[in-house]
Every structure is written in structure tokens, then in C-alpha cells.
């Protein structure tokens, strides 16, 4: 069995990676407290029927107990996370999440047909490793391909959803 990698607190990403278990467990603990607090204000019996508070209260208490156990395990270094990401990898995920957030906020004011090709191009631009695509010719090819992809994806979605299934796109 290979020994698990233990990260040294070198840079920010590694620090986050080491403590991610703890942060998640603290977040679920906070959520458990919120659920319990909110549920405690609801009736436990309502007109002779077990009230709406019963089930959320059980879930809230369970979440608190489980989160405390996870915090203890995490502090003792016994909790195992799925593969940690390098800074470069994490940036790719952050780029997609950030661009997608912008896309969802601008969808209504700008509209699907105009915004989607831009969104697709932004995603591709962030995912292509421009360092390896050094030649000018290759760079032009990537740009042309992403513009074509943006147009094609938008056209296909409009055709299928708006024309066939009659969904009104934003």
C-alpha cells in the first residue's frame, strides 16, 4: 500500500488542500446548527399530526454529530480526501466556475444567442494551454476553431430546444 502524500504548508493552494477536510466539516457543522435552530421554531405536533419540525430536527442533530466526528478525524489527520489539485489544475476549475457565474448573471440582460458564443470562446481560451500552442499558425487555428464551436453549439441548442421543443431561451 503506497504511503499517502502529506503536504507541507508551502503555498496557499497546498494550505487549502491540507485544511479542506476541516473547512468542509466546519461548514456542514454550521449547516447542521442552522437546520436545528430553524427547525426548533417549527411545531413538533400540528393538529394531532407529527409536525414539520420532526424530520429536519433529526437531520440537523445527525449532521452536527457527524460533522463533529469528521472535525475530530480531520484534526487527527485520519480523514482521506480524493486527489488534491495542483495550483494550475485548480485555476482551470476556478476559471470555468467564474466564467459560468458571469454567464448566468449576464444571460438575461444580453440574451442566450449573443452571449453563448462568447461564453464558449472564453471557456476554450481558458482551457487551451497557450504555452504549448506557440506557433502563430496554430494559435490562429485554435481561435478559428473556438469561434466555429461557439457558433455551432449555439445554433444546435437553438434548433433543438427553441425550434423542436419550443422552449423559450433567455
Amino acid at each position: 500500500m503506497p504511503p499517502p502524500v502529506r503536504y507541507q504548508a508551502g503555498n496557499g493552494v497546498e494550505w487549502v488542500a491540507i485544511h479542506s477536510d476541516l473547512f468542509t466539516a466546519i461548514s456542514t457543522l454550521a449547516l447542521g446548527l442552522m437546520i436545528s435552530l430553524h427547525a426548533s421554531k417549527m411545531p413538533r405536533w400540528h393538529a394531532g399530526i407529527p409536525g414539520p419540525a420532526v424530520f429536519p430536527l433529526i437531520i440537523g442533530v445527525a449532521l452536527i454529530l457527524l460533522s463533529v466526528a469528521n472535525i475530530v478525524l480531520s484534526l487527527r489527520g485520519r480523514s482521506v480526501s480524493r486527489g488534491k489539485s495542483s495550483a494550475k489544475e485548480l485555476l482551470k476549475a476556478l476559471w470555468i466556475a467564474g466564467v459560468s457565474l458571469g454567464y448566468s448573471l449576464l444571460l438575461k440582460p444580453i440574451g442566450f444567442v449573443v452571449l453563448t458564443p462568447v461564453y464558449v470562446c472564453c471557456l476554450v481560451a481558458g482551457l487551451v494551454d497557450w504555452v504549448t500552442v506557440r506557433q502563430e499558425k496554430a494559435q490562429v487555428r485554435v481561435v478559428v476553431e473556438m469561434i466555429l464551436l461557439g457558433g455551432a453549439v449555439t445554433a444546435a441548442v437553438v434548433l433543438v430546444f427553441a425550434k423542436v421543443f419550443l422552449v423559450s431561451l433567455p
Binding site: 499517502p4 477536510d21 441548442v157
Partner: protein, 494 residues
Amino acid sequence: MYYLQLLITIAIGVLGGIFVGSIPGLTATMAIALLVPMTFYMEAVNAIALLMAIYIGAMFGGSISAILLGIPGTPAATATRIDGFPMSKKGRAGEAISIAAMASFIGGLVSLLVLSTVARPLAKLSLNFQSPEYFALAVTGLTLCISLSSENVLKGLVTASLGLFLATIGLDELVGLERFTFGRLDLFDGLPFIPAMIGFFGFAELLIQAEQILDQRRVAQEITRVLPGLKDFRAILRTSIRGGLIGTVVGAIPGTGGNIAAFLSYDITRRLAKDQGRDKFGEGHPQGVAAAESGNSGVTGGAVIPLFTFGIPGDSVTAVLLGSLLIHGLRPGRALFEQQSTLVSLIFASMLASNVLMLFGGIFLSRFYAKVLSLRDHYLVPIIAVLSFVGAYSIRSSLFDVGLMLGCGVTGYVLTKTGYSTVPLVLGIILGPTAEMNFRRSLLVSGGSLTIFFTRPISLVLLIVAMAFLASSLIQKTRDSSKRSKVRDQAEAA
């Protein structure tokens, strides 16, 4: 005309499923989650047939990249790689794909046979079920899923609790009081399930895959001869039937999935092989490919058994399928078989058609799929992202749902990266209403006493099974964790 339309729908689903399964990183769950909004506008039979076709196609599709690239297209194809890739390196890539297609077909057929035989009598059993039994069944399904799909049982319990909590959002069905809506009208009918599912299974997986994007074309092994010899075909027949049966049984246990079935089938086949043959496993043995593929394809029918009979999904794909059934107003159980028997028969027939089309598509289109594998990842990510947005928006034409999908996606990404499986979470959302309503109804009958769950035999047995599974996997995983800590401490001391 109707049947032709259904057949075309199935063909599109199978070919699409093979495509999705063959691309490493794209999973059947992701594809189905993204397509569920589209099926909202279809007839129930066509919708379920399309989703099942994608499931069946994707289960086989994973083997194509496992054989041609040495990279399993889906987790279920990991065992196929063991003998498939060495066969491919020996210049037998086409034969390996054909063997995989034949074994998948036989495995799928066996599981369909078991499904159609067992499902109706099992559904009748649900006549004996009342509120305490339904609550116990939901708890058992959830705990089995946690025990088998989570690396860490405690974390699995956390995500299941999160799912159960999300299911309580909205107006309480029994007394009509709002819960956790924070005044938002969009949440009064409950948490929109489809956008949440697209977020957890589609967008979260997209973020994880984006981290591992290869910025180069994949190079697939060349395909020459396609059909295997008669000797190989004879050898794989018995293996595939056995694999199909193993897959069906494994698939029927909630939380297992194709990966476990494929490895179990492969291991049993290797053990049963004669001494000389056993050494050839791992070096490109056709029976190795057949065992793995029939095992994972057997799951497709097996996972549907608890779904159709009790409304308990066998894996993440059937969890999404359950959502689709509910969208079309179909409630699994005895009523489904009695009131919608034509629909159930049509779904079974469409599964048979999917398996047949998968066989021919797998054998004769393997050269085309080899070309598809050279598609660059950074062109796939935007397509999935746009489909996630459109899928989330299209159900209610609501931008709130888009935001919800995004939020669930990012949450799913963080949870997955920190070792929390999102499968129990989604299952919690699906089973939450069943669990809560039946829990409260049981308390109403018993006057608030919890003993009602332990004095009824079926409920008691189900709860004992649930607790036994949970306790055993908790002990097993605590032992594994202690071993890992010891190894780490020894490595650090050295």
C-alpha cells in the same frame, strides 16, 4: 409509425451513449442528467427508452477507450482494460471491441431476462408494505448506497443527511407550512430536482474533468480485423452468461454499480480458469474482456429491479431515471405494473432493442468511434457547460434554477474533492420525501412511539440489514484508515 419513432429514439440513445461512454471523463450519469430536461417534452415511454438506451450504450462505450487507449471511458470499464488493452497492443483491437460488444449484449440480455421474470412478483410483494416498511426501505436503500459508494462512511452519512435536508425544503405536504424557503417563491414547491441533479452530476463532474484536461490528441490503436474467431466466441459465451448473472445480482444492490460487478465477474472467471489459462489473464485474454463487460452490462437490468419494484434506485443512473419517472407521473411499485403494464412491457422491449442495437453499433462502428476518441477535451467542456445551463433553465424557464444548478455544481465539486460522494446526496433528495412522509405517518399511527418500526417483521428485518451494512463498512473502513495511518507514520519515520 409510433414504433419506428421509438426505434429511432432508441438508436439515437444507444449511439449517443456509446459516444459518451467512450470519451474518458464523460459518464452515463452525466449524459442522462443533461438529457432529462429534453425528455420532459417526450412521451413517457420514449423518454425512459431513450435514457435506458443511453445507459446501455454508455456501459459498453467505456470499453472502447479502455481497449484502444488504455484509459477506461467509464469507471465500469476499468476491469475491461486489464485484458482489452493488451489485446489491442497485439493488433487485436477490433476483435477485443467485438468481444466486448458481444459480452455486453449477452450480459444485458441475461439481466433483462431476470428483470422481466422477477420484477412483477417482487412488485406484488409491496402489497404487504405500509408506512413503517416504506420508511425502513428508504433507510435501507440509503444506507446500502452509503456503505458501498462512499470511501468514508461518515462522509457518506453527511452527504445523505444533506440530501435529506434539501428534500425538506418547500411546503410541508402534511400540514402545509413552509420550510427553509427563506421567502423565495421558487422554493415553495420544493427544491427543483432536475437543476440540482444537473449541478451535482453534470457541472461538478465537468469542473473535476477540466482539471485533468489533456492538451493533446489521444492516439488510439489501429483497428484491423473486427470479428473474433468461432473458438473465441464459444469461449466467451459461458463467461458472458455468468457475468450477466453476477452483474444482475450486484446491480440490484443499491449503491454498487458496474465497476464492482465487472471486477467480481473478472475475478470469478479468472479463478475458474484452468491453471494454464489463468496465467494468460492480464496479457490479452478474450475471456477477461468478456467477463468484465458482461459483468458491467448485467448491472443495467439489475439496477432497474429495485427501481421499478420499490422505487429504490440501484445506482446514480437509476436515481436520475427515478426522477424522470416521477416527472412523467409514474410511481414505481405494484401500481406501475398493474396500471401501466403496457408501458412497462414497452420499456422492457426497448431495453432489448437497445442491447441489439448496441451489439451491431459496437461491432460495425468501432472504426468511427476510434476517430471520435481523438477529439480534444477542451472542445467537449464548453458543450457540456452550455447543455447544463440550458437543461437547468428549460424545465421552468427560470434563471433561479440556473443559479441553483451552478451552486449545486460548485458544492458538488468541493464535496467530491474533499472525499464526499455526491451519490448519497442525490439519493437523499429523491428518497427524502418518501422517508419523511412514511416516518411521520408511522408516528401518527403509533401515537408518537418509535417501536412501530421494530415490532413489524419486514420493517425490523430491513432496519437490521441497514444497520448491519453500515456497521460492517464502518468497521472495515476504520481498519483501512488505521492501516493507512500506520503506513504513513512508518514512511515518515523512515
